[in-house]
């Protein structure tokens, strides 16, 4: 037990004895983990950005000239029943005159002597789905209603946004895998350099009869302490950054997006760094002892 506590405290003392190496390792790990944390947060919030963009999707339905406001309400009820439709709001003939006046500054009745504008409706689609949204089936169902004259929507824009979103979601695990791989590599090499910088210590320990375990343990403890130090810096940095981004989003944009920070990211980062620093320092000393 005395030996274990000696090795544990020696690992801790090494952090102070080699301040520059410790600082370099902690800073490198901090940057790598901060980047992974941001990436994970971006991943969990991608659908929020998509939801915001989906609020901009607008389908305008124009009814035939002879459809009255009351008749239109019935058709709009049918539109609301279509799968994927969130809301459908009627724009009565009178509303259309007002909108025309707002846009063109003229009262159309004064010009033509009658109201040629049809009853219409603005249809919003369901935006919460995490799957790719296809508006064509909705458009086809709306068009199938006899009294619908014309349906206007931003087809190519919607397709482009949905396609891009699907592409990001599909490639996200691959991208995350590459980034985590390089993070592991950076952390592993940092541990390796830290061990290599103290090869004289290892030689001296071996000469006085230290076992392989005795030589390895302080390095492993030191590696884990470096991991704990860096991850404890990453936690407030990540939470602070996300709060800062949210502050900017809420106060300087009208997007209504608020990023959510998933606390399990912290657990994953902790597990990741402890595993890598343990394996990294263990392997680095083992390679040196060969």
């Amino acid at each position: 037990m005395d030996k274990f506590f000696y090795l544990l405290t020696d690992g801790m003392k090494n952090l102070w004895r080699h301040k520059l190496t410790t600082f370099t390792a902690v800073f490198t790990l901090f940057l790598a983990l901060f980047f992974v944390g941001l990436l994970a947060t971006a991943g969990t919030n991608t659908h929020k950005i998509l939801q915001y963009l989906r609020t901009k999707y607008k389908i305008e339905v124009f009814f035939k000239q002879d459809v009255s406001n009351d008749e239109a309400i019935g058709y709009i009820y049918r539109i609301k029943q279509i799968k994927g439709v969130r809301t459908a709001t009627i724009i009565e003939k009178e509303d259309a005159i007002r909108i025309f006046k707002d846009q063109f500054g003229e009262n159309i009745i004064d010009i033509l002597g009658y109201n040629p504008l049809p009853v219409s409706a603005v249809v919003n689609i369901n935006r919460t789905s995490r799957d790719r949204l296809s508006v064509e089936p909705i458009i086809n169902e709306i068009k199938a209603i006899n009294q619908v004259d014309e349906v206007r929507y931003q087809g190519s824009l919607i397709n482009k946004i949905e396609r891009t979103y699907t592409r990001i979601i599909d490639q996200f695990p691959f991208l995350a895998g590459i980034i985590i791989f390089f993070t592991v590599l950076v952390i592993y090499n940092t541990m390796k350099l830290s061990v290599y910088g103290r090869r004289e210590l290892i030689t001296s320990l071996q000469l006085i009869g230290a076992t392989r375990t005795f030589v390895k343990m302080p390095f492993i403890f030191e590696g884990i302490f470096i991991g704990i130090l860096s991850v404890s810096l990453v936690f407030p940095a990540l939470i602070g950054s996300i709060n800062g981004i949210n502050y900017l989003l809420m106060n300087f944009t009208s997007w209504g997006i608020k990023l959510i920070f998933d606390p399990t990211v912290l657990i994953w980062l902790f597990v990741l760094v402890i595993s890598i620093t343990f394996v990294g320092s263990y392997r680095a000393v083992s390679n040196f002892l060969k």
């Binding site: 005395d2 506590f5 004289e200 030689t203 001296s204 320990l205 000469l207 006085i208 009869g209 076992t211």
Partner: protein, 217 residues
Amino acid sequence: MIEFQNVSYEHQKGNGVNNLCFKIDDGEFTFLIGPTGSGKTTLMRLVYFDIIPQTGSVIVNEYSSEKMSNRKIPKARQSIGMVFQDYKLLKDRNLFENTALPLHVLGFPVNEIPERVEETLELVGLDGKDKHFPHELSGGEQQRACLARAIIKEPDLLLADEPTGNLDPVASFELVRLLETIHETGTTVLMASHNYNLIKGRGHPILELKEGILRGN
């Protein structure tokens, strides 16, 4: 006890030792003398199993090079104290920590260590300097610190490879006297040196190496 039986070892760049046969009994003080490159360090390395002979066998206490494995080497070294020309002190630890290190390796109870370190430092004349780091000590003091680290575990065998190589004549003489004092407690001592004037007339057996071959006993 050290026994070499027809031991040969050749380094990749040449040099080494050739067909060495000798025995040093327990409690003996033996000098190993020879010019630079004669194979003294190779012989020392064979004793502490840093290298294994290509032919023949080395027996140190109960350990034989023929049955040596990586797992056994630390155990074999735990009963050997070593003093080097370049001291090999850990620069990032003070004298107390350097001296105490072998006791931690052996798993000594922590509460017994300070007293033992104090006694050993007193023996080598470094009492009161336990907080000093190696760079704060003179060459002679660093060598005595190295000696303290070697003897604190009360080894059966003490190896000193050119321990006076970096010391002035007075410090060299003092160190040899110190080794003799340790030898008087029953420790087997093997000291390598190329300085014949330092060891002559001391009444200890001398092994002479020349170009890897043992010349005299």
